[in-house]
């Protein structure tokens, strides 16, 4: 039977290294995925992964279980990623004004808005589309990217994401909304062109 996180934490604290390894096994995939999405570079993601779990091991002694272990772990992981990002010069700092991502169909300023094919759709999920999606995510400033990753990709609730990032639920919701609009905006521009061309992609 699998032990709960809390049970493994207690065992680790009492010196059982295997219990710690079990915790690492349980969460390493998720932490790696988060790091890859945040840092987009395998070497940096691996460094972040190692640093996070070392911090976990060293911090466990003072972990009192006031929040869930997983929340605490992801808070450490996001902080490690943010620290790495702050040392980069090429990171986007600002999100474009929200208005840039909103349609202006009321004013008739834009070409008609187009719907995309239903999902799952091969064209939407082609290699080229995935690359475009990744690039769009990279263009978001880190705070927005993190909220989107935690909420929409990893499935955290508003409260969990807020606790992990140390921000209010209102801030989570506001950032999430802006991140989604920004991503939709970039993808819409790309898919609209594709749809106009008939969505025909050359074979691999």
């Amino acid at each position: 039977m699998d032990l709960t996180d809390q049970a493994l934490v207690e065992k680790t604290k009492s010196g059982d290294y295997q219990a710690f390894e079990a915790l690492v096994n349980r969460y390493e995939g998720k932490v790696y995925r988060l790091s890859m999405r945040m840092l987009r570079n395998q070497q940096d993601a691996e460094d972040a992964l190692q640093e996070t779990f070392l911090q976990v091991y060293r911090g466990l002694e003072n972990f009192e279980g006031r929040s869930m272990f997983s929340t605490w772990l992801f808070r450490l992981a996001t902080n490690v990623c943010l620290m790495k990002i702050r040392h980069r010069e090429t990171e986007p700092q600002h999100l474009l004004p929200l208005e840039d991502y909103l349609p202006r169909h009321e004013e008739g300023e834009q070409p008609p808005i187009q719907d995309w094919p239903d999902l799952p759709d091969e064209a939407l999920l082609s290699k080229e589309s995935r690359a475009k999606m990744l690039a769009a995510l990279e263009k978001l400033p880190a705070e927005y990217r993190l909220v989107f990753i935690l909420r929409d990709i990893e499935g955290f609730s508003n409260a969990e994401a807020g606790e992990t990032l140390g921000i209010s639920v209102a801030a989570v919701k506001s950032r999430l909304h802006r991140a989604r609009l920004a991503l939709r905006g970039v993808l819409a521009e790309y898919f609209d062109k594709k749809i106009r061309k008939g969505f025909k992609e050359k074979g691999p």
Partner: protein
């Protein structure tokens, strides 16, 4: 309701966090406003696309290096 007001509320609408009255207003608006309807559809699809797109699983060698690294570092803790 104006289109711009709708657009501000869309995430809450998608997440089912909008109060029922506003939700009704929004849906009524979308029945008559095709661009807003498509905007919501494509916003939902954006989210689903990112969920579908997935991410590489943890490579075996990264897993092994992590465990080696921790064993080495933590022995001195």
């Amino acid at each position: 309701m104006k289109c711009q007001e709708i657009l501000e509320k869309l995430s809450e609408y998608i997440d089912g966090e909008l109060d029922p009255k506003l939700c009704q207003d929004l849906e009524a608006h979308m029945e008559d406003c095709h661009p807003c309807l498509i905007f919501v559809n494509t916003l939902k699809k954006t989210i689903i696309l990112y969920q579908f797109a997935g991410c590489e699983p943890l490579p075996k060698e990264v897993h092994l290096r992590l465990h080696d690294y921790l064993k080495k570092e933590c022995q001195g803790c």
